[in-house]
Symmetry: C2
Subunit: 211 residues, 2 copies
């Protein structure tokens, strides 16, 4: 069977099939779709894929992917330096940027996950603590995913900060005022209460505010 | 917001977003997934996309995409020449090949669709009729989609064949024996009768066979 499909077509189906959420059927569909497109469209896609990582670096302040160091966010003097939003991945920065958040970020590069052998030492954790210990940061916003591992990672950071706050000298007033916050867990906007899971509903009740 | 995302990342999100069934969120997810992969994996994908159409030609017999002319199917002497399976797209050939079908194909390159301005003259219709009129073909299997347009296209071919059979000279015995068949419409295997739509159920009843 496979012999009847040209090799270049089989190759691309295989490569597309390696992407997350793309099964063999979708991979075929995408490939055959590209076959119907003009050569220049296909070349533009190839070039974009090829150029993706060229000229990309990691910002030495927030560890987000960037074109310059510091990145455009860390280099923007109009953004508040006091607020550092801690996220798992660069994609999370994109999501939070859409809300109009005006602080800085810190990209951990993942979450603590003993099952996958990922501990704090495999993440940008020491770098985060160094940033926090330095002057200027007043609030650490923990925006890891509301998943088991995301919660554990948030807890780890919160515990660590509490510990070094209690141990640090009394003259370090900046640490005394340091706040650690966690993004709210609750019902998603537009969601339906009757279909919400138990955990989400528990969190939504716990996080209730005066109306 | 967009300014905080490197240009190469934005470019690829845009290109992925042009693919069918891939919205902006999936396009972002795929792009950021590639960012986590080693350079050589990304390059392999880029190369596969770039190489897709290189060395590809259209088989002058069945009009399927191929690496040689005739293609590996048309050139295979072990396959029956008497049966020609008419399909819309190259992807349909891949699907039918999986069933172990041992005849030949004819790829129309689409369906008759007045709304999209596609008439028989925009498809490989004349080429199909020439193949049928030539000697050797005993059965034309119409395997266009069971959609409105697929059915109309099947009907068009069937009518045309009936017409030139009735008009052709009595000595052309090969045409007299020419059969035109249509793939069965009915309940999909593993499907659930109670969820089947009216049209499918009507077709399933019409196509019933003695048990």
């Amino acid at each position: 069977m496979a012999g009847s499909i040209p090799k270049s077509v089989r190759d691309l189906i295989e490569e597309f099939g390696k992407l997350p959420g793309i099964g063999p059927k979708t991979a075929s569909r995408l490939t055959f779709y590209l076959l119907t497109k003009p050569e220049e469209d296909v070349e533009r896609l190839a070039k974009s894929v090829d150029g993706l990582k060229k000229n990309l670096i990691i910002c030495s302040e927030c560890y987000n992917i960037a074109e310059s160091d510091p990145c455009s966010i860390c280099g923007d003097q109009a953004r508040e330096k006091e607020k550092v939003c801690v996220v798992e991945e660069p994609l999370d920065v994109v999501a939070i940027e859409k809300t109009g958040f005006d602080g800085r970020y810190h990209v951990l590069g993942g979450v603590i996950s003993p099952i996958n052998g990922i501990g704090p030492e495999n993440l940008r954790m020491a770098e985060l603590f160094n940033r926090i210990k330095g002057k200027g940061v007043k609030e650490v916003i923990l925006a890891t995913d509301p998943s088991l591992e995301g919660e554990a990672t948030a807890m780890y950071i919160s515990n660590y900060v509490a510990k070094f706050k209690s141990q640090s000298a009394s003259w370090r007033t900046n640490l005394k005022n340091l706040k650690v916050t966690r993004i709210a867990r609750g019902l998603p906007v537009g969601g339906d209460l009757e279909y919400a899971d138990e955990m989400t509903l528990t969190r939504a009740l716990e996080g209730r505010k005066e109306y």
